[in-house]
Amino acid sequence: MAARDYDDVPGTYVLDSRQYRRGYHLNMFLMTLNRAECRDEFAADEMAYLAKFKITEEQKQAVQARDYLEMLKLGANVYYTFKLVSHDKNPPQVMYGKMSDPELSFDEFQQMMINGGRPIEGNRSKSEQKESR
């Protein structure tokens, strides 16, 4: 698939046709967590529930480990991934922090935002990021 002009934006996973195809089944599993009866079934036996979907072993392991960044790398989109975070009754900052590089705790992520957020300077492109580190 063709390269995109946003491919050099660091740490960013755009839901385009490449991500769509990689993560279709993973995202559609996550989508089912919008329904209370599916959340209950998933909670009762996660692996049995995951076995109902055509998702890869790697994707299953990332879900089980709550490795959100790995999920994005394997095709998940963040809005779909939220369903899992909510299912676990975690605030979203838990996910944002775990995905961050370097990884941040809930409190550290929250404090970074209170301090004005992650700066755009040094984070616009992979080359700019390399220079600033």
Binding site: P10, Y13, D16, S17, M31, N34, M112, M113, R118
Partner: protein, 280 residues
């Protein structure tokens, strides 16, 4: 007498704002500045309740998914239920529709070559209900009817920023040709700069946001000229939601006056922004 657009509002629609209200946390230090900042906005809305608000929002993998997400969708139902987004539906009033205006918009926009999808049933998520909560607080029922206009801003390819502005212009013409003496508000929601996914989560860009808000008032063509990559790079992957504010701005007169502006970092991982623009 024909319908008339009175004003436009832009506001972020961060789900945490709704959750803070729903769970009675608005007095906590984290939220105080934000809700204090809402006071003039809410006062304006108390004095300026239209008959209908056209709310431009996006669905966040709630009613629409990878199995079908139209570029532009208008809700034509009598009412829209708050959706279960994974933590149970928000306990906010049902959203009353305005089928006559909704269908008029569909017909006029199609005639202007905007190929609109029509939703006869649409559960609405935080993208639509949080702006209502921001404007109207916690009433027993919402004071105005709503025409939901859902834009795909999450599954690329997205409509361009310029297309969104032109859609707004066509909405402005369509409202002006609606044969009922009603007042209409138009809201653009989402943004401002934020990124929720990936190692760069939490990136915000006040300079970009300020320029966007300034241009929204006096130079909206500059915001229409931005590319998706401009937003992704400068305003974060999810900052591209800001193209929905272009729909709102396009529906207003060339000249507008700024009645309110508020900007605050952070709300969750987002730069919160709001603006009210009155037709001059």
């Amino acid at each position: 007498m024909m319908a008339k657009i009175l004003a436009g509002m832009g506001t972020s629609h961060v789900p945490g704002v709704g959750a803070a209200m729903d769970n009675g946390k608005t007095d906590e230090p984290y939220w105080q500045t934000l809700f204090k900042g809402f006071e003039p906005l809410r006062a304006w809305h108390r004095d300026n309740v239209p008959d209908v608000n056209i709310i431009v929002f996006n669905d966040h993998a709630t009613s629409y998914s990878l199995d079908g997400y139209s570029t532009f969708t208008i809700g034509v139902a009598e009412e829209f239920q708050p959706a279960d987004e994974g933590w149970g539906p928000r306990k906010v009033p049902v959203v009353k529709g305005h089928p006559e205006l909704a269908w008029h918009l569909v017909e006029q926009l199609m005639a202007e070559e905007f190929d609109m999808a029509v939703a006869g049933s649409l559960d609405v998520d935080h993208g639509l209900t949080v702006p209502l909560s921001i404007a109207y607080d916690q009433p027993d029922e919402w004071p105005a009817d709503v025409v939901p206009l859902c834009v795909n801003v999450i599954q690329h390819p997205l409509p361009t920023a310029a297309r969104c502005f032109k859609l707004g212009q066509a909405i402005g013409r369509a409202v002006a040709s609606f044969d009922q003496d009603i007042s209409v508000g138009i809201w653009g929601t989402g943004g401002l700069s934020h990124q929720l996914g990936g190692e760069r989560a939490g990136v915000v860009n006040p300079e970009f946001d300020t320029a966007f808000l300034d241009n929204l008032v006096n130079n909206p063509q500059a915001n229409a000229a931005l590319s998706h990559t401009d937003f992704i790079r400068e305003a974060g992957c999810e900052g591209v939601e800001m193209i929905m504010w272009n729909v709102m701005r396009g529906a207003l007169n060339d000249k507008v006056s700024e009645a309110y502006r508020f900007y605050h970092i952070p709300v969750s991982a987002t730069a919160y922004g709001a603006i009210i623009l009155e037709n001059s």
